[in-house]
Amino acid sequence: MSTRLARGGRLIDRNHPLDFTFNGKRMRGFAGDTLAAALLANDQMLVGRSFKYHRPRGIVAAGAEEPNALVQLGTGGRSEPNQRTTTTELFAGLSAASQNHWPSLEFDVGAVNAAASRFLPAGFYYKTFLQPRLAWKHLFEPVIRRSAGLGRPPEEPDADRYEQAYAFCDLLVVGGGIAGLQAALSASASGQMVMLLEQTPHWGGRAPVDDVLIEGRPAADWVAATVASLEAAPNVTLRTRCMAAGVHDHGYVLAEERVADHTPGDGRPKKRLWRIRAGKVVTATGAIERPLPFAGNDIPGVMLASAVRDYLVNWAVSPGDRVVIVTNNDDAYRTAIAVHRAGLTVPAVLDARAEADGALPEEVRSLGIPVLTNRAVAKIKGGKRVTGVAVCAQAGEGAVLDEFACDAVAMSGGWSPVVHLWSHCGGKLIWDEAQSAFRPDPARPPITHDGSAMVAAAGSANGELLSADVLADAIRAVGGEGPAPRAQSPEEAPTEPVWIMPQGATPALRSKMWLDYQNDVKVSDVQLAAREGYESVEHTKRYTTLGMATDQGKLSNINGLAVLAGSLNAPIPAVGTTTFRPPYTPVTFGALVGEARGEIFQPLRRTPMHDWHEAHGAYWEPVGLWRRPYCYSRPGESHGDAVAREVTNARTKLGLLDASTLGKILVKGPDAGRFLDMIYTNVMSSLPVGRCRYGLMCNENGFLMDDGVVVRLSEDSWLCHTTSGGADRIHAHMEDWLQCEWWDWQVYTANLTEQFAQVAIVGPNARKLLEKLGGMDVSKEALPFMHWADGTIAGVPARVFRISFSGELSYEVAVPAGQGLAFWQACLEAGTEFGVLPYGTEALHVMRAEKGFIMIGDETDGTVIPQDLNLGWAISKKKADFIGKRGMERTFLASPDRWKLVGLETLDGSVLPDGAIAPAPGSNANGQRNTQGRVTSTYWSPTLKKGIAMGLVHRGPERMGEVIEFPKIWGGVVQARIVDPVFYDKAGEKQDV
């Protein structure tokens, strides 16, 4: 059993016990524990089930590479799936639950998958996708969905808050082991701005666990002293609990800081995403120990040798009373020493190598521990927990020579440098024969904006495993000066590659050798993939799902590709690795989202009258990032009824519209008229001062992109109104042409959209209202239709435009935004006697459709030219050039054989479905039904008491009176007659009074 030792534990505080629960069971740990350490201390080795076969899964590692020990952490608004127990810090009240089992962890029905494992081989998913089709849908998928899968997604909104932060440095050092600390120290001496990140809460990495001596004293002393001097340096920033997730272009690094993961509810952000811009990056990310592929290597109690050492030394946790060590290298002997030192038993060290006579093996022998060379694990005995090891010759096929009873097995297949960050932006790797590992190729680093190397690897991440070499490499990586601190650690003999144990293992044994614990990929699966023709490691990965689990193959990738290489009889470097992609370990969505949630999810744009609308029943319609009232519903009133009421009121009495969102761009300069003649299809230079003109804007293709009323303010200045939400785009469009094409023209623009609140005062009583408010002569004589004037209304500086988008007598009044609400309220108050009511965007739409006015985005879709909308009158024939002129001349646009704007009137008076397409006889070359038109705008007209619509119909204007059919959504057709799109006041008399 695993248990807490009476003494030791460099990271725990025995004076601070912490209570927590696992699957509802109360347990106790200490401050400084990881959840994994605390679970082991409570003899909870079994922590989950594997993805496919529901095999029992125990804790394998002690860090970020852990593939098995994932739990559902917390409840309600703090529920998180797939949290690694090995990186989760224990806190009082923590509640964790195991995942992927039913009905319980101890007794799992899905484990029957394991019995059926020969039916779930490599490529299972692909094979069942292919055939039989129905079997996948009705048989495989429902079963797999119920039995596979890891944690549950949270069901409540996240109770925590998150944020992001930007940081800048000359040098970013990733990893706070002795390599990272030394690199930061050396770089800081040269005055660079240095940032140092460590993913765990502790500095020093493995060195303090591995008995390293630096300058003759325990590594922990050197670590403490180095951290202290770095903390004192003004040019160094240090952060623990901060995981560098990815290295991106031009020195951009994303890192996730676990600010309050371990102190939930204390008001601090749970996590913080750092967006770091570094001149250079040093990856001192260490190395990860590889498992050994032997039969039963997934049984709980089989752990990485380094993890066993970590649990003993850091947390005083014994994984078992009797620990068998299996290795192909010297480093694992440190674990034998640590186990022995803790007062526990090492029945034997099984070394696959022919010889083991370095300093560490000799020390182990001197402790009386049997060291058996040329030996391997034939199989692990046990089910939910290791009970023993059957031993065989590494050179053989697995004939059992001996057996040892034990309750834990510590395995070591050698070390792989963590090359993820080096690789993210294209850093290349070389195969290191001596270490049997890929390491960064210094000749082919990822490069940055100036073509220089962006990343340097240091220490174990660069393939250096001995402490003295690690420190020297760290100084080299930052171009530092001076000798490295003296580090002492025993010399180690080379690692001997072992990719299958024993070397000649039978198929039965190979089908029990796990490569990917979480996804249940075994040696036999990779070999099967190779036999089926999967030669590319990328294909094999996807076919077998090797390395596709949440750990992204940290333990499995190298072993997997070595097995693949073996099957293909190819050298490992020829097979290569799969692509390393960010993030290094999963980053929570909350951190990526940062502050952008709830009220500040996106920048909502508000007019000065926004709060008034809100308080008066506005039903909102998003228009770009603006919110505009669609209508103002009264209690018990449907939106449709509200719209009809608002339309009728504006047509018969007086309506008010908040038109502040309309774009308003000031264009000024000696060449402004000439410029606007290029921007608009019609002539604006000839517009007299004091007058307004409706204008169209096209892009170079000739397609209509925006419209609005242009106002001549003075000899050299114009005010251009754009559609709501179009102001920024049109302003940018103007600036683009001014800066990049006609840069010698003297024109300035200014986007004044938000300077003004604009109110449309609409209806037969509009003039009466303005006259009552007082301050300006707004009579027909003083201010005729399509004229404007400056003045003061109700004491507010105002610019009044006589323009109408409704067909009624109408004024649009622009006032400073800071007085917009006051002006709006003054209009409402003074308008009571004239029957004033505010109206929303839908009433606006209905009224403009009744008048046959087009709306950008309804009648246009980026493929419509003005001529299609019968707006040819607004296209100058005189101008030699304007934006879009050449585009319109293309034959297919100049052809009369196009869909053109018409009105549509249903024979039964109903409202046509929006977007409905009218079929035509026959079919096209693709066998699709021919079409002859579509509905672009469709409304119930409260004025005409029937459905009215506009649409684009093939040669429509030539077909007046013809009846065509549109399908209805729920079947059947509706007949509509092609008519003039102007349904109301065709002569335009009402607006010009």
């Binding site: 490069i447 904006h449 170079e700 940018a732 683009d736 800066q739 094409e741 002129k885």
Partner: protein
Amino acid sequence: MLILECPCCGVKAEETELSPGHEAHLKRFGPGSSDEEFESYMFARKNPKGVHFERWRHSYGCGKWFLAARCTATLEVFGTYPAQTSEPPPDIVARIKARRPEWEGCK
């Protein structure tokens, strides 16, 4: 995420402060141009793996358009220069030639 120095205001802006604009140094063809000329202006865009000239706007900054020469494969930036330029400036061309001897020039 790229960093480009805006030649108009001097800010070393990151990509989120910029808006991309397509290929630089296009010649506009308007009324009177042939179908081929108009097609080349509107649609025929270079998409090289390697040296490329692009338009960028410092949209969250000074608002100015500028041009950038960079390698689309390695993201190395050879320089940025004002939009009011009809062809790449000689110093930038020289820098590209030094870094990419095999580069065939703008055409």
